[in-house]
């Protein structure tokens, strides 16, 4: 395979990579449009076409792909809604999806920072204390079996009664999801140095802090960054969940909620696409940091 690939030119290699993606994408789009017709057809026929006799297949297709509140919106409707909301409205307008994305990403990033810190502190404590390893670690794992959807309103009520609203409660929920992968991966990473490395530092008469900073921390980096990528994606979900019970003021979660209140499916789908893009951007950010910070790049 490698030999045949080397024989192709640069453009050929690009085509070799892009063609399957494009083909599958095309198939998905065709299926999506077909599914949209199939799901929307009953409503189109009932609402508009039954009034005008003698309608044909073209009318049905046109109606199904341009419905106001479709069961499944066509891809171009979602794309138009997404682009329209960004282009037509100023950045600080609640109708602009970038505004909501900024609100959500602020909560995500704050929660991610707090969660990473909490996870790191927990991991260091667990690695150094047998008591915490035995008593606390099982509860950290158990904490993730509690559905975050149930925790979110509790946290919002408690913090709200303390006078904290806005970004901070959402960041706490996002932290709750973020700290777990970081803590687990760091515990694994900090313990990854083998007997040989530990004994080498022992022969150098390295102190415990020296052994920690010069052996354990660098050894944990390859474990840390994949966890951070998982963590920031989980943090985004946490921030969106945190926006659901707050009464829908701003943020992608609020956008999803208002969309489902008013049955505005196009809005739900465009908010979903926007949050997927945001998740991609945030994960990309962490991957970039990984490439810059890990010697030798991504492993």
């Amino acid at each position: 395979m490698a030999a045949t690939e080397a024989r192709r030119g640069a453009a050929g290699a690009l085509w070799f990579r892009a063609a399957p993606v494009l083909a599958v994408l095309g198939v998905v789009l065709v299926l999506w449009y077909a599914l949209a017709v199939w799901l929307n057809a009953p409503q189109v026929i009932e609402r508009t076409l039954s009034a005008q006799p003698g309608w044909g297949a073209i009318d049905l297709l046109r109606g199904a792909w341009a419905m106001d509140r479709p069961v499944l919106p066509a891809p171009h409707q979602i794309a138009l809604d997404l682009v329209g909301s960004i282009v037509d409205w100023p950045l600080d307008s609640p109708r602009n999806l970038l505004f909501h994305a900024a609100v959500t990403s602020a909560a995500t990033l704050l929660g991610f920072a707090m969660g990473t810190l909490l996870g790191a502190v927990l991991a260091v404590a667990i690695v150094h204390s047998r008591t915490l390893d035995r008593s606390l670690f099982p509860w950290i794992i158990a904490s993730q079996t509690v559905p975050v959807l149930a925790i979110a309103p509790i946290i919002i009520v408690i913090l709200g009664s303390m006078g904290m609203t806005g970004t901070f409660p959402k960041a706490i929920i996002s932290m709750y999801l973020c700290f777990f992968p970081v803590a687990v991966a760091l515990v694994k990473g900090l313990r990854s140095p083998g007997v040989i490395e530990t004994e080498l530092l022992h022969t150098y008469a390295a102190s415990k802090p020296q052994a920690f900073w010069k052996l354990r921390v660098p050894a944990s980096l390859p474990f840390l960054f994949p966890a951070l990528r998982v963590g920031i994606a989980a943090g985004l979900v946490g921030a969106i969940v945190g926006e659901l019970p707050t009464g829908a003021q701003a943020g992608l979660g609020a956008r999803l909620l208002t969309g489902s209140y008013y049955g505005n499916t196009v809005q739900i789908w465009s908010a979903l696409v926007m949050s997927a893009l945001l998740g991609l951007a945030l994960t990309g950010l962490v991957a970039l940091a990984e490439r810059l910070l890990t010697p030798g790049g991504r492993r």
Binding site: P20, V21, V24, T131, S135, I158, I268, L272, A276, G279
Partner: protein, 346 residues
């Protein structure tokens, strides 16, 4: 004397617990409306348990046990000590107190209890796992004991500070609510777990497994579908819930559909990792080898077919999930009766 100092120095936390437990017998627990001070001897039931607490704290200073039975007995005594303030809070003595304020004696005992709790957890964790039973006890007992102490202190602090139930209910209130609405919760369990989760889980993982195998078998799909699957998996699945309700209605079908979507991606990713990552390695261990002439995988002897090799290789990673760490593998054909060992080239 020096022996006592050495003991105290070795057991600082337990000494702290003993000192504060003793203080709680001297200082007033609270004041009644008439201005009368409340002490442990004024309340019969809690008094017994408070004495037990003082005894336990003193015992903790004197003897750091190493074996299983004393450690367990120590944990049990600590649990008895925790009963004193819990009973005190539950009785109507607390209601008769002046504005329900707790004084220094009560806080001293609570602090002593916290120290005692940390000591018991620490000792159970430090237990050297010997046999099967004590190892299991150390592995499962430590987190359970830790959780129990957290619940005890939670109950104590919430009741003593009289935290509004809207903010943080006491564990006892949670337990009462759980017991009272048992029937409703059982119905919810049936609806959520037996309908939505089980059906969704089976359907979602089956779908993920099948799609994973299909992607793995076809290089075209692997290059085409994987980037799109990665993109789709960044969609926060909470947002899918309202769409699923719109499509499948308010019954359990919509919930099962969400579960299907949520289980699909992890299953797909892990199936692919199991298949692709160690595919060639697994084929080796399953009885295949690289043919010298064609450069392709072939069964190692004529008694197995290529399909059998593939099937064997397919099942191993998905269900065992174990990596083949050693570079040497052995495979035995039952017909040839000859063991063939070979070395993997990575």
């Amino acid at each position: 004397m020096t022996a006592l100092v050495a003991l105290i120095r070795a057991q600082r936390l337990a000494t702290l617990a003993a000192v504060f437990a003793a203080l709680s017998f001297v200082l007033p627990l609270g004041f009644s409306a008439k201005g009368q001070a409340l002490h442990w001897p004024n309340v019969a039931g809690p008094f017994v348990f408070a004495c037990c607490g003082l005894f336990t704290a003193l015992l903790a200073v004197l003897r750091p046990p190493r074996r299983l039975a004393p450690v367990l007995g120590f944990a049990l005594l600590g649990a008895l000590a925790a009963l004193a303030p819990l009973i005190l809070l539950a009785t109507d003595v607390a209601a008769a107190l002046d504005a329900a304020t707790w004084r220094s004696g009560f806080w001293c005992y609570t602090f002593a209890l916290a120290c005692l709790g940390v000591t018991t957890v620490r000792r159970l964790a430090a237990l050297e796992p010997g046999g099967g039973f004590s190892a299991a006890l150390s592995a499962y007992g430590t987190p359970l004991l830790f959780g129990a102490w957290v619940i005890v202190l939670w109950q104590l602090l919430v009741r003593a500070f009289d935290v509004p139930q809207v903010l943080l209910p006491a564990p006892s209130a949670v337990w009462r609510a759980l017991w009272a609405s048992f029937g409703v919760l059982a119905g919810d369990f049936e609806q959520t777990v037996l309908h939505a989760v089980l059906i969704g889980l089976v359907a979602g993982s089956a779908l993920g497994f099948v799609v994973g195998v299909l992607i793995d078998r076809s290089a075209f799909l692997q290059r085409g579908l994987l980037p799109l699957a990665a993109l789709a998996s960044t969609v926060p699945l909470v947002g899918i819930a309202p769409i699923m309700v719109m499509w499948f209605g308010f019954d359990w079908h919509s919930k099962a559909a969400v579960v299907v979507v949520m289980t699909f991606f992890p299953m797909l990713v892990n199936t692919l990792a199991g298949l692709a990552g160690h595919w060639s390695l697994k084929r080796h261990t399953a009885g295949g080898h690289v043919d010298n002439l064609t450069g392709e995988f072939a069964p190692i002897c004529q008694h197995v077919t290529a399909e059998q090799v593939d099937l064997h290789a397919l099942m191993a990673p998905a269900f065992l999930g174990k990596r083949q760490n050693n570079r040497f593998g052995q495979w035995q054909c039952h017909s040839c009766r000859g063991r063939k060992a070979f070395i993997f080239r990575s």
